[in-house]
Symmetry: C2
Subunit: 215 residues, 2 copies
């Protein structure tokens, strides 16, 4: 599998992607080299993701990087971005999602940062509507808790392109047994099959808005 990470300069997403032995290549495009350097210096247990020989770091603009990617290159794209104000704004807009879809093989998957249901339902509504137009496979919203984030939660859009169908709620590989690669990184402290299932369970108010836009 070929994986692309946009943002995620701290290396944490790399560390977690690296647990999977099915992954052959991990490209990362981070706009700010200082994020990488600071993480390596002060958060070595996060930046350990860079030590994986499958990782290639590209310092640059993710939007431009994606535009240059040949069609159907990646199996998965993970967008680990900041909020849609300022530098990361383009990462929430339709042309960007279109570039992601082009870069994915048929049935390829994308996971993008998609804000908090407590604070940003109006933004989420737009993201879901955009994704529904661009990604012709499945379109899902999931969320989890992060105590240091405003409102204590964060969300994700999980979409697949037209092709072999992808059921995000029921992973093909078991979460517990598929993470044996690179054991030196230690066992998962948070994620497990129950948490994966729970991530797709939405409160009534959010479900109403998201289901309306996703259909």
């Amino acid at each position: 599998l070929q994986v692309l990470v946009i943002g995620g300069g701290d290396g944490g997403v790399l560390r977690e992607v690296g647990r999977h032995s099915s992954v052959e290549q991990i490209d990362i495009c981070e706009i700010d080299k200082m994020v990488v350097d600071v993480s390596k210096q002060f958060f070595p247990e996060v930046a350990i993701g860079y030590e994986d020989p499958r990782v290639t770091l590209h310092i640059g603009d993710g939007v431009a990087f994606l535009k240059a990617v040949p069609k159907g290159t990646y199996d998965a794209v993970i967008v680990d971005s900041s909020d849609p104000i300022g530098p990361a704004q383009e990462l929430f807009e339709k042309p960007f999602f279109q570039s992601v879809a082009n870069a994915l093989r048929p049935g390829g998957v994308v996971c993008t940062q998609a804000e908090s249901i407590w604070l940003h339902m109006h933004i989420i509504e737009d993201i879901v509507a955009n994704c529904r137009q661009i990604f012709k496979g499945s379109v899902n919203y999931a969320w989890t808790t992060v105590p240091t984030y405003p409102s204590g939660v964060i969300g994700f859009m999980l979409c697949s392109t037209e092709g072999p169908s992808v059921d995000f709620k029921n992973p093909v590989s078991s979460i517990d047994t598929n993470t044996d690669y690179n054991k030196a990184r230690g066992p998962l402290k948070f994620y497990n099959p129950e948490i994966h299932t729970a991530a797709f369970c939405l409160p009534a108010f959010a479900k109403k808005v998201i289901d309306a836009k996703a259909k």
Copy 2:
């Protein structure tokens, strides 16, 4: 069904208990009358719970109230308390849980405030151990998100007494159809069957500690 609420002076728990037509009597014991008065004045949409004719308000100490309750009086006890520091400390200790168990009929259920897995695992560990000793039916920990609470989440202990077995994860009555009573209060904005299921899904680090103490 006979229900007792300890704390919960704002009336919000009363409002939600009142949705269920199977409930015949709702006693509430709140230590601070000013909480009730302030809620009625400034949060009428929460304090509306008091308008239910099945509700009887007792102003007083919940610990003393429970000690005086004849054995087997209630079908459900809900403890809507503050943190275990200062006035609410006793509500997290073994003698209080013993009083709750005595006040419940065989197979009766209790729901008590049980802190945040992000901040208070050491407290939760003790609560679970105490509940396991006192409640001889099922002992469960559940959690949900509340954006205004520290760390953005809050937890609950859900236990049953010895008697007919209670499976909290799979409610006997459907959550959606069992809340038709008193429609004037409006539809549920947050809670639904998916959210109920998700509440029992714990992160690996919490599951490890809680399962060890619950068994």
